[in-house]
């Protein structure tokens, strides 16, 4: 188990350190919630992009690396999900550049997802999605 302990510990220490050291500001910010984190306009914009069925709009809502090829069925799969409703009142700031928020997705029945958002060039993008309410 080469370096396992160091790695695990390191992972933990990184976590331990990541919150107070979140870039770019060294000091913690006050915790923001709801619309103070994610405005209604920003939420509607993300919803519109995700629900558009348009490849470029879907892609611009996500933190997909530039040049990254996506699964050939990805866009059709997202389009098939139906309407997205982001509940901005549930938003929680995680650090200066990250936030979490719940979204309901109509796919046969309504499913709730936790969206992990990251701020890029002043706008919020979906960095990851987790099933259910996990904040």
């Amino acid at each position: 188990m080469l370096l396992t302990a160091v790695l695990l510990l390191g992972g933990g220490l990184t976590l331990w350190a990541s919150a107070p050291q979140a870039p770019p500001t060294p000091s913690p910010s006050p915790v923001l919630t709801g619309k103070d984190v994610l405005s209604a306009d920003a939420a509607r914009s993300l919803e519109a992009d995700l629900s558009s069925g348009d490849k470029s709009r879907i892609r611009r809502a996500l933190t997909v690396p530039e040049g990254q090829k996506l699964d050939s069925k990805f866009y059709a799969g997202i389009a098939a999900l139906g309407a997205f409703t982001i509940r901005e009142e549930t938003a929680v700031q995680l650090d200066d550049n990250s936030a979490g928020v719940y979204a309901d997705v109509q796919h046969g029945r309504v499913r709730t997802w936790t969206l992990l958002l990251t701020r890029t060039d002043g706008g919020w993008l979906v960095a990851s999605t987790l099933k259910g309410e996990q904040l």
Partner: protein, 608 residues
């Protein structure tokens, strides 16, 4: 730190420190145990499992392999150096103990009726410990049957010697004053620095030597593939290119990991992919970790791994992979199903390297391109071809299994008959080593004049030599479908090129016997002439007075010279009588190949 952060960090630390404690706990009780093979050693193939840095005896792997290879003639031993498991593998506390352990098991297995060969399955730094240990064995190529390395950092790890990088500085800065020294600030961490063949390791770190030539090594690398998805829809995969600790290039980089001449032998690299859903990674320790995903691109990660510059983001991500990939990462690969399957397969492959070739194996062996048929694998001794395509058939009667390569188990000289285009082609002999590796081919069509349907009559194996009798060898002027002669061809082991090379070629010609007859006739030695041509009359063997008798040349069935005087499977040798008046007569000795050699079956005047 806000309350939410505090809660998440506390949870994360509990999870991680719990995992650390779990990782360490396996070693602690075992540390008290001495690594001596106290179990009963039988004649089955012994496998010594060698754990890695900070680890303990691989008992879980032992149980899995015992189950997987049950009834196949294996026995397993978990070597334990956990008391010294933070030392560099070059430390005698590790390698000497391992060398002694291997030697002891080898002796006991040999005493029990086995071949004395020990196989090693090593995890991580255990593979490097085995390299140091092998260098100190009296006769490593006899004692070690082969080695399987699993996630071994042959060319180091980006984590090794990380104290020079940001990650190391970070750890050091946090560790000091925060925790008691847990032992992981050891030489091993320094010595596992990334390196290649001619590179030197940091001061105080000996480079692991290669295993001696002839010890086969099967390398298994883990490769984590993170499945990235949004809303449960698969988007793309992120290939880590390693198991989170050891890059696949290092785990498969045995050759090129030490200075000096590379060893000879078999060094199979393999990679076992292990897929982890992104959500498993993210969910493992809380939503906080999701943010750096924006940096998690192949290029970013792999570039850093390749350059051994493990940045904090990458360290962070890989650390999470280790935790989330509970069956899929460096720390768990020794019990990962596909990896264990590969270990078992590798052990079988290594054992086969010491098994002799058999006729049964030859019947399903791979053959090279023969008679213009593409290379392929035999089925029941034949290439699977349609009747229209022809055939390639193993001749089990003439094929011989035995010593081919000095010092290696039996190989074979396999004889093949084949046809293409509706006609039979000359036989081919293919030389195999015990593994089925092709050491050379002998196309009997190369012997004699062009064309022909040469056939192998017999094969005899000597000490690394193969003597092949070839029949139906066409001589000049023979009907190409009916070669009249035969030859003996010798092949021998070429140690320099490691192939079978052709030596002497002896083709039997009728000319010498016809020349002897001409000489006997010329000197009027009737007795000698009768011995050479017993079926001829005294009159036939008495040349006219004053005639000078000389051998001229021999002809074949399609030569156009006196071909009506002999059959297609014979040759005619012309002997000329020169008279004092300047005239001459042509006589012919009709020659046929008998078991004892060319013989004269008839002798008569054919013209002039």
């Amino acid at each position: 730190m806000n309350p939410r952060h505090a809660r998440q960090v506390i949870i994360a630390l509990v999870v991680i420190l719990g995992a650390v404690a779990h990782a360490m706990s396996g070693a602690a009780p075992q540390a008290l145990a001495d690594s001596t093979p106290t179990d009963h050693v039988t004649k089955d193939h012994p496998v010594v499992l060698v754990h890695g840095w900070t680890g303990g005896p691989a008992n879980d792997t032992k149980a899995l392999l015992e189950e997987k290879l049950r009834g196949e003639g294996w026995q397993f031993f978990a070597f334990d150096y956990s008391k010294f498991n933070t030392l560099w593998a070059a430390d005698a506390h590790i390698w000497k103990k391992l060398a002694d352990y291997i030697t002891e098991i080898s002796k006991e297995q040999h005493a029990a009726g086995g071949d004395g060969r020990v196989y090693l399955v090593t995890h991580s730094m255990g593979g490097l410990a085995a390299r140091f240990a092998a260098a100190h064995l009296d006769d490593p190529t006899v004692v070690i049957g082969g080695v399987v390395t699993v996630g071994t950092p042959h060319q180091g790890s980006p984590w090794g010697n990380a104290a020079e990088g940001a990650w190391g500085k970070f750890i050091e800065a946090v560790l000091h004053g925060k925790f008691a020294d847990p032992g992981w600030g050891s030489m091993a961490r320094v010595c596992l620095a990334p390196h290649k063949g001619d590179d030197e390791l940091p001061p105080g770190c000996a480079v692991p030597p290669y295993f001696p030539s002839g010890i086969p090594v099967e390398q298994i690398a883990g490769n984590v593939v993170v499945e990235r998805s949004y809303f449960g829809v698969h988007a793309y995969d992120v290939t880590v290119g390693g198991d989170g600790v050891v890059p696949a290039t290092s785990a498969n980089g045995y050759l090129g990991s030490a200075a000096g001449a590379k060893p000879r032998g078999s060094f199979s690299p393999t990679q076992v992919d292990c897929r982890i859903p992104e959500n498993a990674v993210v969910s493992a320790i809380g939503s906080q970790i999701a943010v750096p995903w924006q940096y998690f691109t192949d290029a970013n990660l792999l570039d850093q791994l390749a350059d051994a510059r493990v940045g904090l983001v990458v360290a962070f991500l890989l650390g999470r992979i280790l935790i989330a990939g509970d069956t899929c990462s460096h720390m768990t690969m020794m019990t990962n199903g596909p990896v264990v399957d590969k270990m078992a397969e590798s052990l079988s492959s290594l054992a086969a390297k010491h098994s002799p070739m058999t006729m049964a194996r030859l019947k399903s062996i791979r053959v090279p391109r023969l008679c213009d048929h593409a290379a392929g694998k035999l089925k029941n001794g034949q290439l699977p071809l349609s009747e229209r395509e022809g055939y390639v058939t193993l001749d089990t009667e003439r094929t011989r299994v035995g010593a081919i390569v000095p010092g290696q188990p039996d190989g074979a000289a396999a004889v093949f008959h084949c046809s293409q285009g509706g006609i039979g082609w000359p036989d081919v002999v293919v030389f195999y080593n015990n593994l089925g590796g092709i050491l050379g081919t002998f196309d009997t069509g190369d012997i004699g004049s062009t064309g022909g349907r040469q056939q192998v009559s017999q094969v005899t194996l000597g000490h690394s030599t193969v003597t092949i009798g070839v029949g139906a060898v066409p001589l000049k002027g023979d009907n190409e479908l009916w070669g009249t002669s035969r030859a003996t061809v010798t092949y021998g082991w070429n140690a320099g090129r490691r192939v079978m090379s052709r030596g002497a070629v002896a083709i039997e010609y009728p000319d010498p016997k016809a020349r002897q007859l001409a000489q006997a006739l010329n000197r009027r030695d009737l007795n000698a002439a009768r011995k050479l041509s017993p079926s001829s009359t005294e009159e036939q063997l008495t040349p006219p007075t004053g005639a000078s008798v000389k051998f001229d040349h021999c002809v074949g069935a399609v030569s156009g010279e006196y071909t009506e005087e002999f059959r297609g499977n014979q040759r005619g040798c012309l002997i000329k009588y020169f008279y004092e008046n300047g005239n001459y007569s042509d006589y012919m000795a009709v020659m046929a190949l008998q078991p004892e050699g060319w013989t004269i079956t008839a002798y008569r005047n054919v013209g002039g």
